[in-house]
Subunit: 917 residues, 2 copies
Amino acid sequence: MLMSKKVDVGVPEQFNWSMSDHSKIYEFGQKTDGNATMRSLLGGKGANLAEMARIGLPVPPGFTITTEVCAEFKANGEKLPAYVFDQVKVAIKNVEAQQGKKFGDLENPLLFSVRSGARDSMPGMMDTILNLGLNDQSVQGFAKHTNNPRFAYDCYRRFIQMYGDVVMGVQATDDRDEEPFDAVLGQLKQEVNIQNDVDLTAEQLQELIRRYKDLIKKSVGAEFPQDVYAQLEGAIGAVFRSWNNERAVIYRQKYNIPSEWGTAVNVQSMVFGNMGDNCATGVAFTRNPANGMHEFYGEYLINAQGEDVVAGIRTPRPISALKNDMPKVFEQLISVCKTLEDHFCDMQDLEFTIEQDKLYMLQTRNGKRTGLAAVRIAVEMVDEGRISKEEAVRRIPADSISSLLVPVFDEAEKKNLKKLAIGLPAGPGAACGKVYFSAKKAEEIHAQGEKVVLCRIETSPEDIRGMLTSEGILTSRGGVSSHAALVARQMGKVCVCGAGTLHIDYVSKTIQVSETIIKEGDYISIDGTTGEVFSGKVATVPSEVNRVLAGNMKAENSDTYRLFAMVMDWADGFRKLGIRTNADTPKQAAQAFQLGAEGIGLCRTEHMFFEEDRIDFVRKMILATTMEDRIKALDHLKPLQRGDFEGLFRAMKGQPVTIRLLDPPLHEFLPNTDDALDALSKKFNIPMEHIGARVQALHEQNPMLGHRGCRLGMTYPEITTMQALAIFEAVAQAVSEGIDVKVEVMVPLVGFEGELKSQVERIRSAADEVMNRTGKKFNYAVGTMLELPRAALVADKIAETAEFFSFGTNDLTQTTLGMSRDDSGTFLPEYISQEVVKRNPFASIDVEGVGQLMGIGVTKARRVRPGVKIGICGEHGGDPDSIKFCHSLGLDYVSCAPNRIPVAKIAAAQAALEERS
Amino acid sequence: MLMSKKVDVGVPEQFNWSMSDHSKIYEFGQKTDGNATMRSLLGGKGANLAEMARIGLPVPPGFTITTEVCAEFKANGEKLPAYVFDQVKVAIKNVEAQQGKKFGDLENPLLFSVRSGARDSMPGMMDTILNLGLNDQSVQGFAKHTNNPRFAYDCYRRFIQMYGDVVMGVQATDDRDEEPFDAVLGQLKQEVNIQNDVDLTAEQLQELIRRYKDLIKKSVGAEFPQDVYAQLEGAIGAVFRSWNNERAVIYRQKYNIPSEWGTAVNVQSMVFGNMGDNCATGVAFTRNPANGMHEFYGEYLINAQGEDVVAGIRTPRPISALKNDMPKVFEQLISVCKTLEDHFCDMQDLEFTIEQDKLYMLQTRNGKRTGLAAVRIAVEMVDEGRISKEEAVRRIPADSISSLLVPVFDEAEKKNLKKLAIGLPAGPGAACGKVYFSAKKAEEIHAQGEKVVLCRIETSPEDIRGMLTSEGILTSRGGVSSHAALVARQMGKVCVCGAGTLHIDYVSKTIQVSETIIKEGDYISIDGTTGEVFSGKVATVPSEVNRVLAGNMKAENSDTYRLFAMVMDWADGFRKLGIRTNADTPKQAAQAFQLGAEGIGLCRTEHMFFEEDRIDFVRKMILATTMEDRIKALDHLKPLQRGDFEGLFRAMKGQPVTIRLLDPPLHEFLPNTDDALDALSKKFNIPMEHIGARVQALHEQNPMLGHRGCRLGMTYPEITTMQALAIFEAVAQAVSEGIDVKVEVMVPLVGFEGELKSQVERIRSAADEVMNRTGKKFNYAVGTMLELPRAALVADKIAETAEFFSFGTNDLTQTTLGMSRDDSGTFLPEYISQEVVKRNPFASIDVEGVGQLMGIGVTKARRVRPGVKIGICGEHGGDPDSIKFCHSLGLDYVSCAPNRIPVAKIAAAQAALEERS
């Protein structure tokens, strides 16, 4: 094995286009054109097949049709351009020469697999054809040449089935959901009374082939093609087409993969895991992808082809068993794994086939992993000296760290509940919900606001939407590389798979375990960390990390905490962005402080208004008809608000605290039913007519664009004064307690510089009054939100008064796009599925539009007030891509929900590291 | 008289600062520091006093304190800076030397008037003090020296009254609205049984003076000041302060005068029109300001001071009577008028005083005039060779031209109604409404949506708000220079003044004319063109201009039309902007075409949806649950829409027609009461539950930001298809009729380029289908609105698809400012009054914010598609300032309501002319 040269992987910018940039075909085998850096052009699978061939690993020869052709194919009316097919034919000749067999030969035919392979792996999303190159005549030669008719006909029937499904588009003919070829197979097995596919005889397989071809004829009105080049052209086209099938599109949306990237197509000589008991096929991970432990992990099937393992039809054997079954090959596989991990410097997910005791490598890639695994592998690879801390932080998907903070089941309570089964712990975490047995139903029930656990015998790519909307996934069949496990790893879903003792019945919609029966809609709880399945609801407790942070668990007792703290520490060392939190109560503030918040970026004072002891005064203030009455109500509110602020200052121990003045329209504080209004009328002894008139007067056509934010402070300046006094009185109190308070008073919804000037004047006189009254001196800053397009456009003018800024990207998105978040449900999903909008702009900043305005705002504000502090406190502050964008804009900090702080730290560190390189 | 040099007036940029830019005082008289170009520094009054002095007209000497001091005064705690007052004292010495009298002298005191004077005249808005410099002692010397004790005490009591009111702030002590000094005067007159002020004896005036001083003492607790310099300092301060009084602020808002400009203060030696019957005071216009006729026009009072004329207390004599009263002075006045009009090259509004047969000029300025007068004077001055056509167009306030298009009373119907009186025709036009007798009540009733005619014996500046909200103003007292006439001229209000036969009684709230009694709330009609007053409602007919355009009157019979057509012709020659119209029906389109519209810039297709024959199908379309049902309803709508479009194409005779696709949210088409929904349920035989559910589903939190515009077309593409087919079928029909149709299909509310791409695809296939089906070939363009901030920000991307753009500034303003027009009523008026917002952004483009975005949009769009056609079709398209801004942005056209087309043409021409100079 060639290991002389380390390839710089994972840096897709370094293409080596010069080599053969006119060819659309890159060969691998004796002659290898590509390498691992060429993911954009060859897709991940193609690039790594080339790389494995280059370093001398046993890769069956073949070639890759580049991703460029994907777009050409579409533009060419979904037909492969002729010049590309000419190049394909040349490449076929080269493979024939290496293999000493001919494609389409009637005696000893060369067979191919045809597989997709995008830049980022999208496992199971696109189509694959195996055993391509057989026809009615050559299968006889193949049977004779291999001296294994059962094997030959098995290959042919597999080929017809896949081709009929994927290329020819055979559909189910009746209402049953069953895949039509499976139905034919099932029927035959019943007729001949056979349980397992492998037990079918050559003759029975020949009968099956006849029935398959009939099915195709009946279903699509065409014959199964006998010309091998026609087969090949059809298969290549089908793979390119599958780039735009529904599940691939959904997957791309979820992972923000641009549709322009396209897929490559890999055409590779077949090797056979299904020639007999000295054959096998399997998948393996160089480390455990569920928890990251450094152990060889995987599974295989004797006498099978690749799709049998993934499809979960037969339960595979754990990879450790291969040591007994085929000790020599196992040794070799271990050695290949080491080579690959050394070479790619990351945990590898690989596919292999053993043909008559000979090992072939069919794929390797950086393995998908759960959040916990990502953190553990990164930390341990640093310990092993394989990667730097920078690289470790780069590799942890920022979002995945939050899985270390999700609640887990209460161990004590677990003991009181009925444990139904133990399966494979495929996606860590605790999930509890009502059980449903179809993805469609799960989606439906979820849309009604219910929590769902999707329970399937096995899952398939068609289930993807339902899986995404479920709290957790439970299967009774399939192992670590089954579809369910794979989705759980990628999407951070709680998952238990292969819980074989559960008898799942789709017809009666029940799970049966010995005498226990769980019906559709019953509660079930699954622990994806241990693999346990419980009937009923299990209460959750905070995660280990949170327990340690809260002082309820010793740090040395939690390995998870050790990993978490290590990674946070590294991230803190790299990042430049400050991380603050959005917190409205002292409790939230304290939690955020434990998680490392460097201040409060947004305290929404109105959230305190709803608490029971004050909502009455808020309502009295709103219903007041005279300024005197309004001030009386405000006087009651002030000490309560002051108390809240004191709590925040104590919790934050001298970190800056940004307090936003009242923002929402006043009608939000009034009840909205006639009964509740009536009760209010009686309680306050205010005539119903008056209340009705006030409700009427407060009603707005478009409250989002109405009388709110500083517009309230401008028209009811006494509210601003009350809030400012409460803030500064709290500051004075905190100062007297020895806290070095850094308070920032934030005026919301400013669009005109005059608004801010007027509000600031009021705030400053409140501060002066409190300083005079209490004799305490303190510093404070007054600034504003940038949450209206106009504010960003005139940020220079506003900066003459504002001492700091904070982007309110929720409102800024709504106004810039003219799109109400509450009302966008009727069209935004359609936009996302049509790719008119790349990502939900309320989840991740619309860089092109909203981001452009933010850039204008930053530039203008700093032109007038160089270095002015600018942050972001919209919900985008917790979204990794948005955080990276904020870094690129030169913001000072992001502010996010307490539980997003670790995510924000990683994302901020990654942004700083990206900038370095 | 010096007339050797023509001064370039009206170009305020050409300041002559070098002369004495350290002094805050500019003298006029024997030595004159300023001139007419220095309006910014000296105010209009001060600059023109200087100019009149420079050209040798008889101006009583004095000096101007510059507008700069106005801000210094405010910043200095509303106190005149000491160094300025030192300069004032020096200037006083210079005036003393010229007049041979001393300020504060006890024998022969020099008296001053102290008046405001802003850059643009704001008549009656700020304060004035006359006869300043008298005190208890010097009034005796003054009486002796003038040998006219009655005159001397009259001057003193006037001075005390004005000073007490304006400087010392004496307020009414009881609930009556009566001005307190007037009350004292009235009481005394009653005691001594005298009707007219002029009949009070010297002794009675001395008693009045005592009572006035008592009133001051009681009301403000201070003595009336006896020190003349203290008097002067107080008066100057009061004038500066009056820059920010309520009525001045309202006036500035209406006329967009920045508060930073400030007022100057003019201190001028008094001359006396009230020394006896060889004295007089008056105002005159070199042409008739109501209709523009070239005639000497004005009025005067014998033995009176200036405020008597304006206040309307005595009814003045027409200026022509002066020829008999004082023939020599009249000759001289005619000559001065000619000099002034020649010198300033515009109609002059002048104030004069005759003191013992000697003429003094106290003011001249370009006279305010009605729209009709503006047009006539401009045209006639061109005829007279005084000004160029360019200058003529520059001088016509664009808005004022619309007064030539307002409906007038139907002459036939007038004859059937009771004519109550004839007054002075002070503001042309027809007004009809319910009569109310106080400004406050008029405002109240107007707020309830009623049309009001405000009827007052005379009006005063306090009435300004009520006057602005009334349809017309009627007074029984006061002439052409009365407050009512002046406001009518400035604000384009219909006004009849001095209808002396009307007996107006505020207490009984009635108008009595012989036996007829009109009560509060009764309808009244006033014709401001003829001066007629009618009881009841008179029907209106289109204006002469509109009748000529519609072919219902011969052009040669209408002088107004001749003037209108002339000015339009000139404007068309100068302007670069195209002028289109917003028209939704063939009728509107035809009207706009007559007025010279060069195309339709916006046809809102949904306006057609509400018509009786189609609203049912629209509702069926909305209530449809299947696409089939929806398409069925759309099939019914299509021929109706097609018919509308055919009508538009015929009306526009080959001018471009921009048709916007469906824009408003669907719920706007459903009834909004339960009863109406119930009726719909019965009519359509659709269960009420279904209708209720659909209404529920269509309900939105913020419909402005919801499911509307192209978002409808994206989710219900069949609507786009129906509308596109209707448009193109209409085009095919029009083409077959020989019309060279230029249709532009406009997609609304685009924010993402993908939206436009998707809609354009649909529109183009509809066009192809119609061309194939009908065999007619036609051209068309597809473009989009720019009405969301994002659209402007990514106009480059959108320009890849859009063939034209139109700014929808209504929505763009709402989104950029985050301000719903419908909901802004609770805070926007407050913002405008606090000058946080300079102008209502929904009336005139917010140049700084919205305008900045428009600039970004234009630049980006034209970067990708050079020279792409860009227009504006928001309501701002009819606002002169916005039109000028659009010109400066390089837009191709503005589109406005049909009746705003002439305004738009003038504004566009003015923009082009401004650019030239």
